[in-house]
Symmetry: C2
Subunit: 520 residues, 2 copies
């Protein structure tokens, strides 16, 4: 491929015409789906928010939070470049560092990434992929982290493990945590604000959403505790679809990452035999440095999060640059999502992409699709392939801050559907869901092996606090501002070519520090 040409082109132009990213990304064929595990997987499932029919009317505090999550995810997906720093600029004005992880989890869980804290202190939190479980005997779904897939390295994790056992020799090292993906949150004392940067947006392992994860359950509980019903519902749906389509199948989306700076779109499986420098063969493009304005738009507004930690008073970012805001529908397009009853999730637009990619897409299928797709067209079309999106559009009663976001169209669908039809199923550790009475508003569409009353009983335990939005209001299309204002890449770092990813990250204080109206 004329990668170099594309890369250069991409790197320079993407800022103004981000749609090129999709072209490049889609351009790469997918391959070695099962043999991977070593190559870095870049999940650019994307499908950014649609800008079609959103009307800014979100008023729930959690809504802004969710919107920002959506926007951040969109930014991340757009900037598939690995080894680049993706600065998420419009982010909630976290009052406590403990608020950061849940917010990031909203973004990354749908992508099949389970984040954990690598290090933290009062002014910094570094997240990474959760390590995989070595003894995969327990549950085959290792969630995120670097799975013990075989590596060409003689010391592949499992291999080492096996050898140890066999030889009875001492071997302490365990090369599992090799994924370079990092999310770095730093607190700027000057700006009195947290900044978040995604580093090494590629993974050395397949991505897999694991609803059975303990951490995920905690996360769900956190959402419930904070009455972030929109998010709860979205994840309920995500769980359902995940189980429904591909219960526990590790669908590796290997890509290269790290040093090679290869980029792969979410649906593209790179040949990636090596974790760092092998994906060049079939490869996609390497957007060297995307530039997206990092116009720093703060959530200057009030954080009523006191009662609901995640809540942020709606502040429509009068944000400037949102250079590459085109939604990345690629995945939707390429994945033959088995049967998604509804693709829209309240605040987590990429989820659609995720579960499609995670649950229903076949690498081969994707390959053909990814080969040639008119992304420009996709870019223009709100929700291509998202079947019911427009159909299920509903007026967001609450939490619908967004405006003109096409992908939000289907958001309400699940909300209503779930609350009206969905049984409350608690996923057991097995792939089968057990219908239980959730202590909160957890509603699952489960799914495979679902117990009987699936579609019937839906106890509203603990729904006391539920606001109307739960029933039929998730801020469908209004979640994001018209220009995705609340969040976009600040990409200063991106703009600067970082030959050495290992260079210490210069704390990126947004260029446009503070003070700008939020148009709520």
């Amino acid at each position: 491929m004329d990668q170099s040409a594309l890369d250069a082109f991409h790197g320079e132009l993407i800022q103004t015409s981000p749609s090129l990213d999709f072209l490049l990304a889609e351009d790469s064929p997918l391959s070695t789906v099962d043999t991977v595990g070593t190559g870095t997987t870049s999940n650019t499932e994307s499908s950014g928010p649609d800008f079609t029919n959103g009307t800014p009317s979100w008023n729930d505090t959690a809504s802004l939070n969710n919107m920002l999550s959506e926007n951040a995810l969109e930014s991340i997906n757009r900037q598939r470049s690995q080894n680049k720093l993706i600065h998420l600029d419009p982010i909630p004005d976290f009052q406590d560092r403990n608020e950061i992880k849940p917010w990031l989890q909203k973004i990354f869980y749908p992508q099949g990434i389970e984040i954990v804290i690598e290090r933290s202190d009062n002014i910094k939190v570094v997240f990474k992929c959760k390590a995989s479980k070595r003894g995969r005997a327990s549950r085959k779904q290792a969630g995120c982290g670097s799975l013990p897939e075989e590596k060409e390295n003689p010391e592949s994790p499992l291999a080492v493990k096996r050898v140890q056992q066999a030889n009875k020799k001492k071997r302490s090292v365990s090369p599992y945590n090799t994924c370079p993906f990092r999310v770095r949150a730093t607190y700027s004392l000057k700006r009195k604000k947290w900044n978040i940067v995604v580093m090494n947006n590629g993974h050395s392992h397949p991505l897999k959403f694991n609803a059975d994860s303990d951490d995920y359950k905690k996360f769900k509980n956190y959402l419930r505790e904070n009455e972030d019903w929109d998010a709860v519902k979205k994840f309920d749906e995500l769980e359902c679809r995940t189980r429904f389509n591909l219960p526990t199948q590790p669908q590796p989306i290997p890509c290269d990452c790290g040093l090679t700076q290869e980029i792969e779109s979410f649906n593209i499986v790179l040949p990636t035999s090596d974790s760092l420098a092998n994906s060049t063969d079939k490869t996609v493009s390497k957007p060297r440095h995307k530039s997206t304005r990092k116009g720093n738009k703060q959530m200057a507004t009030a954080l009523s999060r006191n009662s609901t930690p995640l809540g942020f008073l709606d502040k429509s970012p009068s944000q400037s640059a949102r250079s590459g805001q085109e939604p990345q529908r690629i995945k939707q397009e390429s994945t033959g999502a088995p049967q998604e009853p509804h693709s829209g999730m309240t605040g987590l637009s990429p989820m659609q992409n995720f579960d499609t990619s995670m649950s229903g897409w076949d690498p081969n299928t994707l390959t053909s699709q990814s080969e040639e797709i008119d992304f420009t067209d996709l870019f223009l079309r709100p929700l291509p392939r998202t079947k019911q999106d427009p159909i299920f559009e509903k007026p967001q009663t609450l939490n619908s801050p967004g405006r003109d976001q096409p992908w939000n169209a289907s958001k309400n669908f699940m909300d209503d559907l779930q609350f009206q039809l969905a049984p409350v199923c608690e996923p057991s550790h097995t792939s089968n869901a057990h219908c239980i009475l959730p202590s909160s508003t957890e509603a699952h569409m489960n799914c495979d092996a679902m117990d009987a009353g699936s579609q019937h009983e839906f106890p509203h335990h603990r729904v006391q606090q539920q606001d109307p939005s739960m029933l039929h209001s998730s801020p469908a299309n209004g979640m994001l501002s018209s220009d995705l204002g609340n969040m976009h890449l600040t990409g200063q770092q991106m703009q600067v070519p970082h030959p050495d990813p290992g260079l210490p990250w210069e704390p990126q204080h947004s260029n446009d520090p503070h003070g700008y109206s939020n148009d709520f």
Copy 2:
């Protein structure tokens, strides 16, 4: 050298004639004192307890604890074999795992080893050497852990660090924590008792007692909180002597360890250029497996530790085997301890050895001494070279369970001396001591840069609880039972040749589980 011969001899016979250890150990010349840092340092400063004039009369709860510490240390020193498991059998009946670390600290701090928890849970606590601080700019005394001494390895810690700083290149790895030394405490649910095993009794770094360590301060505070005045005083003295003699000089006592199973006596500095397989040159002996009866003597007695966590009711271990109980005075002998006003410390016999080795001994001096010393003779003599030892013998008012332990002779000296003469000096982070009013009975002989009132003011703040032992009672010679009964090596593992140190340690349950009279 006829190492192999010696080793074989030693390994086989040491069980019955532990004195051989000293011979072998002393046999190795010391060398490369400053250039070391890579070789494993085995601190066999030893000087086992003297069995001369001890009369068991300890009654303080903390006394038993201290006695056990003494005994354990003696056992550890005696079993210099690295890669061997030294099972400390008569140990306090810890009611909580948090009691273990302080008890071990009593043993290892005097040896210049600062332990930290590597891993712990309800049934296991694994201790290791505290990692050294890379940026030694802060304080040059890195205490324990692998000091950033230069290693022949191209990636010497400091070197790497420097390079990192200079090149601004990312280097995450830090080969500091390479010391194989471990102390493993496991709780036997069956026996309802904790067991402690010392593993890899050798170090890849010089040993250095650092009174300025934060952890050490915490430890001291812990002692005070528990009113373990004997221990407080002993450590006060240790601090004083350390500062007095060699304030902050890292006196490496390098030895090899780990795979080579080399053994070095405390004063012997091995050429140890390599951390794992180099000490064979001058070498000492490798006591393959010392057998000390592990007759399991429990502190069956009451633990009045409720108020004083460390306190254990006196239980004179009717312990059986104490196969190699000969005190290892080697250090005393070899070290030209500058001026130790008093060598005996209340409950921590090896301290004498330690501080002498740490503060006053010169490698060269030691070399000659270690070369040929009649350890048998030493063994017989209570406190050779410990100047005032016999002089300061005092009838242990409390805490003197031991009997016929020559090294205990001088214990009382410091107690009285300190409480009568010693100023209360709080060591600052610098090597200079600041005279302050301790909140507890902390008494320091400080020392260099000591403030005026040194010998005068001795506020007994918080001495309320002080029992008489504080004033002049530290169980001088009575700390250990006649046969070192309270503690000795259980050495089952030791008996078994462990060619591979990495082999999982067979859980050593003491042969003689419980119940034996304590002769108090």
